[in-house]
């Protein structure tokens, strides 16, 4: 069974023990100031290595840029 997840609407293969840090690495996201939502719920930075992504998850990575 193909267990894809979606990161900013792009498909990515799911794997065991996939955490947020690994996703940022796979996607080459190097921005510092991010807000991340997994299935609509906000995941804070101190959870990036502990929070395991469930198969089929919808992940949104929002990049916050200074200026206002």
């Amino acid at each position: 069974m193909d267990k894809l997840i979606r990161v900013n609407d792009e498909p990515l293969p799911w794997e065991e023990k996939l955490n947020i840090n690994r996703i940022l690495e796979l996607k080459n996201y190097t921005f510092k100031m991010l807000v991340i939502k997994v299935n609509g719920k906000l995941v804070k930075k101190d959870q990036y290595d502990k929070f395991f992504i469930p198969p089929g998850a919808d992940i949104k990575v929002i990049h916050l840029i200074s200026g206002g």
């Binding site: 510092k32 100031m33 991010l34 807000v35 939502k37 609509g40 906000l42 804070k44 949104k60 929002i62 990049h63 916050l64 840029i65 200074s66 200026g67 206002g68």
Partner: protein, 205 residues
Amino acid sequence: MRDIKSVFFSHHDPDLLPAIRKAVIGIAGAGGLGSNVAFTLARVGIGTLIIADHDSVDITNLNRQQYFLDQVGDVKVEALKINLKRINPFSEYIMHNVEINENNIPTLFDRAQILIEAFDRAEMKKMLIETWTAHYPQRPIIVASGLAGFGKSEKIHIRQFENLFVVGDEESELKPKISPMAPRVGIVANMQANLALELIIKKKR
């Protein structure tokens, strides 16, 4: 003769006015984004605006912020309140001259049904999103990200993530020591205000 208040609102859409006059909107920051959002929402006639900032008006702010030369040195929220009342004295402006942090956000903005993020620094934007979402998951927050430079108006968009809305191009980074410029700050601020208005009237998006 009609009183000045009813004349002021006589060209507002009467179908929309009750929701507009009842609305309470929070604005976190009174700089480039916040002062522009506030000007627009005061003209719209939003019933109550709650605005917090701890800065004073600096002459370098005048390139994009809704203050005047004779207000340089004044406390921003006090100067802004004067300016808003000169446009529309019929709304309530609750001003807080404080530095916003994760502890005082729920107190300052408890009455706000929508919060508009109007900070400069990205880490403050993130703090505001995390604090607001934790306290008020059902209430929308409208954030700005990516407004530096000029032109490229068509790149500015809105993305929605449940009750989190992001307005901006999500890519333009500031150059060190260079301010955003009035046109793009104004566009983003007015898109934030327009979205808040839409949410107040339609209740969802």
